[in-house]
Symmetry: C2
Subunit: 483 residues, 2 copies
Amino acid sequence: MCKGDDVHCPHFEEHYATFKEDMNAERRSFLRSGLFAAGGLSAIGAAGGLSLVTPTLAQASEARQPEKRAFHYLPANSDTVHWGYFSKTLKPQVECDSGDIVTIETLTHHAGDDTERMVEGDEGAESVYLWTKDKKGVDRRGAGSTDPNVYKIGSGDGQGVHIMTGPVHVRGAEPGDVLEVRILDCVPRESGNPKYAGKSFGSNAAAWWGFHYNDMLNDAKREVITIYEVDASGSKSWAEAVYNFKWVPQTDPFGVTHTTIDYPGVPVDHSLTTRNYDVLKGIRIPIRPHFGTLGVAPAEADFVDSVPPSYTGGNVDNWRIGKGATMYYPVSVEGALLSVGDPHASQGDSELCGTAIECSLTGTFQLILHKKADLAGTPLEELKYPMLETQSEWLVHGFSVPNYLKELGATAQSDIYSKSSIDAAMRDAFRKMRKFLMTTKGLTEDEAHSLMSVGVDFGITQVVDGNWGVHAIIRKDIFAGRA
Amino acid sequence: MCKGDDVHCPHFEEHYATFKEDMNAERRSFLRSGLFAAGGLSAIGAAGGLSLVTPTLAQASEARQPEKRAFHYLPANSDTVHWGYFSKTLKPQVECDSGDIVTIETLTHHAGDDTERMVEGDEGAESVYLWTKDKKGVDRRGAGSTDPNVYKIGSGDGQGVHIMTGPVHVRGAEPGDVLEVRILDCVPRESGNPKYAGKSFGSNAAAWWGFHYNDMLNDAKREVITIYEVDASGSKSWAEAVYNFKWVPQTDPFGVTHTTIDYPGVPVDHSLTTRNYDVLKGIRIPIRPHFGTLGVAPAEADFVDSVPPSYTGGNVDNWRIGKGATMYYPVSVEGALLSVGDPHASQGDSELCGTAIECSLTGTFQLILHKKADLAGTPLEELKYPMLETQSEWLVHGFSVPNYLKELGATAQSDIYSKSSIDAAMRDAFRKMRKFLMTTKGLTEDEAHSLMSVGVDFGITQVVDGNWGVHAIIRKDIFAGRA
């Protein structure tokens, strides 16, 4: 049914109006709950800032917004997605003002693992996944070459895998500004196939880039994909496995054979696989819908592999980046150019086997621009990394190489994969949390060291994205007693 | 006031009777709450085991217990503690039967940082910390040499730092058995100084072995100690800093000068320090009372440095090892020889700066022996590492080198400090969780890989104990739907 998102629906206008009302309510509820967790507006003032956005900054940023907020809807289809990379050269799909709300559909790049459940009957997904012997819906997949004389397995060479919807151009955004991205909602996409009406599905690939891969029992080497059913109705809080199968060589419609999972969107021919339905019986995976890849375009290169996360965010793969969370990104190029993809129904800290439950989701975001001129003296001044705020916590993200594009030079995009290290990411997370506590909370270095040891939790975000991640979590209520 | 723990009290017998009643109630409540979380006894049976102890194993182990359970009280004093090491050669302080309940006092090894608050007026602590020019209450501190011609800074050379109470000998325990340690209670120890009646204190040392130490701003090198006040009444759920000071060279009563924190129990002379009371104002550290070091004696060496954790547990430093948690240890020597120390009022995942809020605590434990003959086919069969069960989760502990005493040979106890690596600990945690899921939950390897990626959280336990730690957490309710 049209939810205000189908322009062909005869009742589109009416549905869209309802959608906007709902969004307004969602937004109000998000703000309220955020304030509630922090003890209300007065507490925020009194506590010297339990949100990263100080009341003064909030006012300054709001004063720069147009009087009326617009709502935008960005569907996912072959025209609105770019596959496998961030790029400052892309034409924006939406132009919006600070304060606007944008609903963005995202598609998992693993839908080819079960096209029957995740592509068929879904117009947007079908247009993206279209691949005949003559044509691909989206030709380029990855930051690699698009020259048939150069690439080895397909356009873009699979150097980057995520289907990214966008970019969204935020008017007035310039390098040095901070983009606040509030995730107002995040819901699974229903299967377009009438056979699976009301259901959603996701795929988990235990793949060659997984942490486990060179450490399997009996020195085995195999890639195994598990298809999960995800409740889209909201009545269950878990996902359950449907079946799994071992990857066997798949020949794509252009005639290239993929002996491993080396190029995204290859439609799996299940006449070649053996599906095992006796899998993870009775196991309920708690749902944590979130966006694995969300971020702004970096300035350092024209085409940037979507796999390694960086200072502009991207493939951070922290399952806490879901409904109710807010991300802050340093703007690197004009317009910010926000893209969203890699939707996950659930993931554990580490994303051990290489992927999460990769499941298409639709998100609703409010984008708020904070201009550099207004940032001085606020917690967001000189933000140099993707920062996460939930209703009860702040998180910084450390990486093996914080800004690998800059630090590793011309060969950064290939070299980063040899730099993977949790030890290095821990070092970076420690330094970022120390800086956060010193600049944002005004602690001395010694105070920060002590607080980090007794009140900050360091966890392993992911060990599969080339640039491995460690996050540091500090609870907001630690500061609730400040005068 | 005597709580059934002071044999000199004129009402000792009456108080001890009350204490035993309370303990019985605590134990019942612990069991009930554990069962409740798992959905009750019938659910445990139906779900194929939501506790690691199957009903059959529980019956078998209980059948081996004496009909009546005994209560034991082990105070901490110079006779009942060993300082800085585990040892299979130690004379037991308590002999108990499986099923018995033991209350054990533990003392922090950082009480010398503020003897006024943490030693004075506390008979047990005074006896342990006694150090005049002629005598130490506990001479040996560490697994190093006790020969004055060999050691450099003091007996034991500080190769191991924790004041360990025990050991407790569990009758009938043999290598190959599993010791279940239920933590029924865990409470802060009140200051013995009337000036601080009703208050408890702890020390956090940002020390040379901290993760931050070689990474301070402006290439500085300094050790800083923060004294925290910990609410012992239960009315507040947080600790607050009292003051901090920079470590300056301290000359111990035997005349050795300690320019860094290199030997435990050196009484800090505060006429030499500068105390800064303007520290962490209004910051409330959530309380997580737990035992940093809890474990059984390893067979591999006579004296084992208490700092690196190992397969027998020891200095695991996971803040989840507190009230309501259960640890399972592989028994390595006859009698198991359980020791407890390194009490912490709170700690974050990573224990970044080298220590937690080091604060004396008293714990009450029920010790249950599971004989090797009864373990076949149960989740505890061939347990080779310290396993943690909370009311809602299971955790395995990975280390840089899982059994370093065996793997690194004769020089293991010094070599382990050069093997510190989160990457290696992650590898071990992954392997242990995979084995746990395959043996305990009957999953295939492929099922385990998928579940670990989408439903298991990997976190950084500590990066300061030589043998660094990563824990993997899986929620019990993931299995609640199993037939």
